[in-house]
Amino acid sequence: MSRHTISVTVNGSAEYVDVPSNMTLLQMLREKLALTGTKNGCEAGECGACTVLLDGEPVNACMVLAVEVDGREVTTVEGLAHDGQLDVVQQAFVEEGGVQCGFCTPGMLISAHSLLDRNPHPTEEEIRQALVGNLCRCTGYTRIVRAVQKAARGRV
């Protein structure tokens, strides 16, 4: 297996990572950078638990090869809070009870955050569409949708 050294900005810091060519972005984040907040639920792009931002766009980290992110920017759940302050989406998930087991939460937060960047005032339908790739088995989505609505109201 050939190896590559890639340069990638993860949550604002420059990283140089040695990766085999078949390593996924999910494996790189969890195993090389110890960023275990991004979860592995299926490794097939079905569950959305590993959703991260790649150059600002949500992707399933299990479906992207690490070598593909050379020279690009990645944001994970660990990069949402700034200076000890939760992001407005994180805050809303906590307050609205959008979190139960928490395993889908990092991916949900990233998808929701990305939606509000693109569309600051989404309808309920638009929120549900944006989260359709993020499976949750605990909440029935109602509180998650409420949390995104609250976050939309909270963003200036």
Binding site: R30, L35, T36, G37, T38, K39, N40, G41, C42, E43, A44, E46, C47, A49, T76, V77, E78, L80, A81, L86, Q90, F93, V94, E95, G97, V99, Q100, C101, G102, F103, C104, T105, P106, L109, I127, R128, Q129, L131, V132, G133, N134, L135, C136, R137, C138, T139, G140, Y141, T142, R143, I144, V145
Partner: protein, 792 residues
Amino acid sequence: MKYTAKPLPKVELPELRQVGKPLRRVDALGKTTGTTVYSGDFTMPNMLHAKVFRSREPSARIKRLDVSRARALPGVVCVLTAADLPDARLVTDMPGQTGQKRRAGSDAPVLASDVVRFAGEPIALIAAETLAVAEQALDLVEIEYEPLPGVFDPLAALQPGAPVVHEPDNVVARWKIRKGDVKAGFAVADVVVENTFRVPFIDHAYIEPESGVAWMDGQDVINIRVCTQVVEHFRSIARAVGVPHNKIHIQGTLLGGGFGGKEDITVEIFLALLAKHTRRPVRLEYTREESILAHSKRHPFIITHRTGVKRNGRITAAEIKMVSDSGAYLYLSPYVLLYATIAASGPYRVDHLKVDSVSAATNNPFTSAFRGFGAAQAAVAYEQQMDEIAKVLGLDPLEVRCVNYLKTGDRNATGQEIKSAVWLEEAATRALEALGEKTPAPSDAVKIGQGFASYLQSYGRITWFHDTSRAWVGLELDGSVVIRCGVPDLGAGQINSLCQIAAEVLGVGLDDVTIYSTDSALTPLAGTTTATRQLYMSGNAVFHAAGAVRESLLERASKHFEEPPDGLDLAEGRVFVKDDPEQSLPLSELAAMCAAGGLPLANLYLFKAPFTSTLDPEGLQGDVFPDFTFGAHAVEVAVDTETGEITLLKSVGCHDVGRAINPAAVVGQIQGGSAQGLGYALMEEVIVEEGIIRTPSLAEYLIPTAMDLPVTQAIILESGSGVGPFGAKGIGEPSLTPAAPAVANAVADALGVRIPDLPLTPDKVLAALDRAAGREAVGAAACETDDDGSEA
């Protein structure tokens, strides 16, 4: 039909400071920042990676198994087969702490030796320096099977001459209820209604696949960090590994969902064996496909109801038959069947009742616990039957239920007196009122239907298991509070509820409480997080442990203030005189006084459920459960008669939870539990053909997405009558139970015909419409001609 909520009986619940408030959960912050560490997130220095080699055949003799090439692969450190583990057998029934006798024949081999009984059965374990090498070694295991006749249908398994999965026959369990005089009951019936309903295999589909890491320490203790609902499995693991109980230490993590699928042993037994044989840390994480292959499924059931009724809907007699598919090994099948049997007649007074149930072994994936535990399958049948009775009699479905609903003081199917509040009509009418008028159909092709379901569901384990839970609560010298309790938290808020209870009793804020949980050696054993038992059992243990600390504190404060203890109270981290709150002390000062006087600042409490004896198997009459939860779920659906597609438009769950310890968490249970029930009704099915799973990943096994579900409105009723702390009842499993039958009833309402088999997929909808239009005969005849080659 317009429904009006039945007024609630007047109940005065005391106003509390922490309990009853929708406080921010203690686990929410870590889970939103990515700092909570799940079992799959741990690594250890010098760690090995494990894989499990599994059978591809559902029923076969292992003619030859050769792992020498796998062993020889560089980087492979250990390969184990049954030959290396002659005594490794796993007890599969009755997990948790109970001194009760186990059923005979419930063991399963940890690794298959001469025969395999289901596709996915573990055969060999591999540990290697890297995951890639372990995966490569899997391909080097050589195996030859001699296929054996298999049996893949529970009804076929019960026929004479069927292939036998385990000697002497395929009967895994039988239960029967004999109550009253069924013959006499049917004799006075005006009408007899008979129907058969079926439910499929279901996967738990928690988003977190099973994972863990294990290592041996300097005392030769095998430590296992794993996501499990049952830390007490350390005993079964010790037995299978061949070490004393005190040499297995389970360090449970917060779970990424469980729902019954992490109630049986999963990765931890393999981790323990490999850690012991390699004396190195070992990590094992299932892929999604392996998770679906390896863990239990919800039992398929075939349930037939024969009900005698008077013209006004009153049930005079019921005869119910149930058959469940136990799959290849026992696991909890006998108890799931028992729960189904006891719930078979629903929340109705049936004085003349006969239930016969049987669970059959097959070469299908093994089945075990899944939220609802048999009672959910029973509800799918009894609630559809109630609607069918209403239809036959020309009555409203609510009216038929109201004349039959159990009331406090009535006796259930086993003759157990229901002592708590039974707000069935109150819940059903509220759910229906909230559902409101039918939405107008957007076109002629779309039919709108409404339906609801009521239920009863036990919370707490079977009382002849003699269930216990322990909790330790202590006050630190700075006035902060520590709980130690072995409770596993599946994500439903189990640990948070315990913190809110302790905060209430000791007069501190929720932020002042820290809990240590889920450790088989370091936290007092609290029993399984199953059976909707933790709030009831561990909630009471924490309540009483905190109560003992409170008593000790007030006794000391009583001397200080020269006031009787009942003239004092604890709140906001202070002790104060009730009549003169200015007279107060911070808890830290009071704690220091107690410490200086050698007074206890902590308590370990053992809470016991009611202990009963087993029942006479000839009729199962007597007490079985600590108490029951009651409620209802109502839904509205739109059915497209051209495509067969069903859309959920409205959803309302209304449950009497006794007392909501954290109302936000209760709402989360009602919305999330019902979501699983809605998926059960409309889309979920593990398709198993000749023992092979045809839905091997989340691409084929579909669970509801955010686009599939409507907002579920949660209505919380609080009778204060439960046996949990502060009068709480359990809601974890009950939240799911009525949702699926409510959908089935709504779809039948929309179509005018009933589809008796879940899930209600578009093809079944179209076939049902064809049947109703008289087009069935043609299609069926054509099929028959094709099948047997003869002319119709």
